[in-house]
């Protein structure tokens, strides 16, 4: 039953990556730029939840709110520093800015939160449900439920609300959106914050899932989210989610054959392979211009 367990682990990790990938693709679609500070957004969300648990007791709801709020605040800062002035400038300026702010966040976290790995509060005390031979922990259920809620919430928001529709309009054509009276910069800020809220939530889930938080936790997951998005074809949210799930599964099935030390290697080798053989991603029609 080892393989079933690994698949379950893969699905859980994959769904966290998927959540990050969704947020990432959402940001890419609306801002039009890749970001390299997304992993740090997750880290900020995780630390926000960590301190919320310490201050207010192990209340899941407050933890979630703190995680989301942490992500949103980080998103606002990223927008202020990296995008606001550079939306019309050559793309590499904003992208380098996101690399810088990612380093800044990481270093500040090390200064103020410390460099050690902190144990995350155990919310469910290791409780689990036995399904035949398979053991499903409460944490895993929490992860799956949260990811499904956030992803479908975002989907409903963009499809059913007027603001969501304006966001989609900005993602599809900024010039036309401005000329039907949509404030493109405000939408870019909002879109960035929504994407980062998803990132913050993902950080919280990662912390709860692995049971720890540390200042450099964002690095690897940020790049995995990026890989998932590249796999999905950058701006396609649905395909990015599939990409995230694939990476999660592949990692966990991969470590059955190699050592667990190769976890990150497997994910990134996979990305390189995708870039070589399917550079347009799985979600983009061939020849479709972004």
């Amino acid at each position: 039953m080892y393989i079933l367990e690994q698949i379950l682990n893969g699905v859980c990790q994959g769904s966290i990556y998927a959540l990050m990938a969704i947020g990432y693709a959402f940001i890419y679609g609306i801002v039009g730029l890749v970001t390299f500070s997304y992993g740090e957004v997750a880290m900020v969300g995780a630390f926000a939840a960590y301190y919320a648990f310490i201050l207010f007791g192990n209340n899941l709801l407050i933890g979630c709110i703190a995680g989301i709020a942490g992500g949103v605040v980080a998103g606002m800062l990223i927008y202020k520093f990296c995008y606001e002035r550079f939306l019309l400038a050559p793309k590499h300026i904003a992208i380098i800015c996101t690399v810088a702010i990612s380093q800044l966040f990481k270093s500040l976290a090390q200064i103020y939160f410390g460099t050690e790995v902190k144990p995350m509060a155990s919310l469910f005390g290791g409780k689990y449900i036995q399904l035949g031979d398979l053991r499903v922990t409460y944490v895993q259920i929490l992860v799956l439920v949260m990811v499904i809620i956030m992803a479908s919430g975002l989907s409903l928001f963009t499809k059913k609300t007027q603001v969501g529709m304006q966001l989609r309009a900005v993602a599809q054509d900024k010039k036309a959106a401005a000329l039907v009276g949509i404030h493109v910069n405000r939408m870019a800020l909002l879109g960035n914050c929504i994407g980062c809220a998803l990132g913050g939530t993902a950080g919280l889930l990662l912390a709860v899932y692995y049971g720890n938080v540390y200042a450099t936790m964002g690095q690897a997951v940020g790049f995995k989210a990026f890989s998932a998005v590249v796999l999905g074809g950058l701006s396609n949210v649905g395909a990015a989610a599939v990409g995230g799930m694939l990476i999660g599964l592949l990692e966990n099935i991969g470590i059955m054959f190699f050592s667990a030390n190769y976890r990150d290697t497997i994910a990134f080798v996979f990305m390189v392979v995708v870039l070589i053989f399917m550079p347009q991603g799985i979600g983009t029609k061939k020849g479709y211009r972004q």
Binding site: V163, M165, Q172, K175, A177, A178, V180, I182, H183
Partner: protein, 267 residues
């Protein structure tokens, strides 16, 4: 007659290229004005400067007695200037109706909270936008395409949809950038009629068009631009009999060498 749109010494340069050069131009309320000129003359750039897509290098744009030279495109749209594009810019992955509904958003007051909780106001305004949107589609005669993806529509229909979306803004002035391009003759006739109807309801219209017959039969006033400069302005008759315009369109009776030199001077 009241002036609705006025350009004073308007200039727009891209590096050394003067795309719009010292253009003075007035549009009165209720007019249909045509802008013509050879390819690359700066007509579309002129529109882009008027609608805030580009900031003017120098000079000013006044709309209803307000200087809008430094306004953002969305502010200008909010003031009541709507436009269409030469290379169609629709939201391709949305339905036809959604495209038009987006045009209405500027007039609606629903907040995010309203739409999350489906308040009364949200439902009322949503119905309003849907009904008005359908009305706009009927207006331009494409209501049967309401649920189709805008990107999959035939070319002529996409042009009409762009006009419908612009009308949804409730504009005072409508700028059309080659609206008849790619339309067949019967579609062009329909478009002509539509523009006349809109104008008779009080909408001021500025139209860039290559089809001379179209411009001459539609417009009361015509502006001719070449190499970014205004070379003539007047009634269609005045314009067609103007020597400068003939030169711009038909070339001069000079040697090839002189023509090349002239091009080089302007470039």
């Amino acid at each position: 007659m009241k002036t609705i749109l006025e350009c004073k010494n308007l200039c727009k340069s891209f590096g050394g290229l003067k795309a719009v050069d010292q253009v003075n131009f007035k549009v009165n309320e209720g007019e249909i004005v045509g802008i013509i000129g050879p390819n690359g003359a700066g007509k579309t750039t002129f529109f882009n400067v008027c609608t805030g897509v580009y900031a003017p290098t120098s000079g000013e744009v006044w709309f209803e007695g307000k200087n809008i030279s430094t306004c953002e495109p969305d502010q200008i749209a909010g003031l009541g200037m709507a436009r269409t594009f030469q290379n169609i810019k629709l939201f391709r992955d949305m339905s036809t109706l959604e495209n038009v509904k987006l045009g209405f958003h500027i007039q609606l007051k629903t907040t995010l909270i309203d739409s999350i909780f489906h308040t009364k106001r949200y439902r009322r305004e949503e119905t309003f936008a849907a009904e008005k949107g359908m009305e706009m589609l009927r207006r331009v005669g494409i209501e049967e395409y309401a649920q189709m993806n805008a990107g999959n529509l035939p070319y002529g229909i996409q042009r009409k949809l762009e006009i419908a979306r612009a009308l949804a803004l409730g504009p005072k002035i409508l700028l059309l950038d080659e609206p008849a391009a790619g339309m067949n003759p019967s579609e062009t006739m329909e478009l002509l009629q539509l523009i006349r109807d809109l104008n008779s309801e009080g909408l001021t219209i500025v139209v860039i068009e290559h089809d001379m017959k179209f411009v001459m039969s539609l417009c009361q006033k015509v502006l001719v631009i070449n190499f970014g400069q205004k070379i003539c302005e007047g009634t269609p008759e005045q314009v067609t009999s103007n020597e400068e315009v003939k030169k711009a369109y038909l070339g001069e009776r000079k040697t090839e060498k002189a023509r090349v030199r002239k091009v080089a001077e302007h470039a």
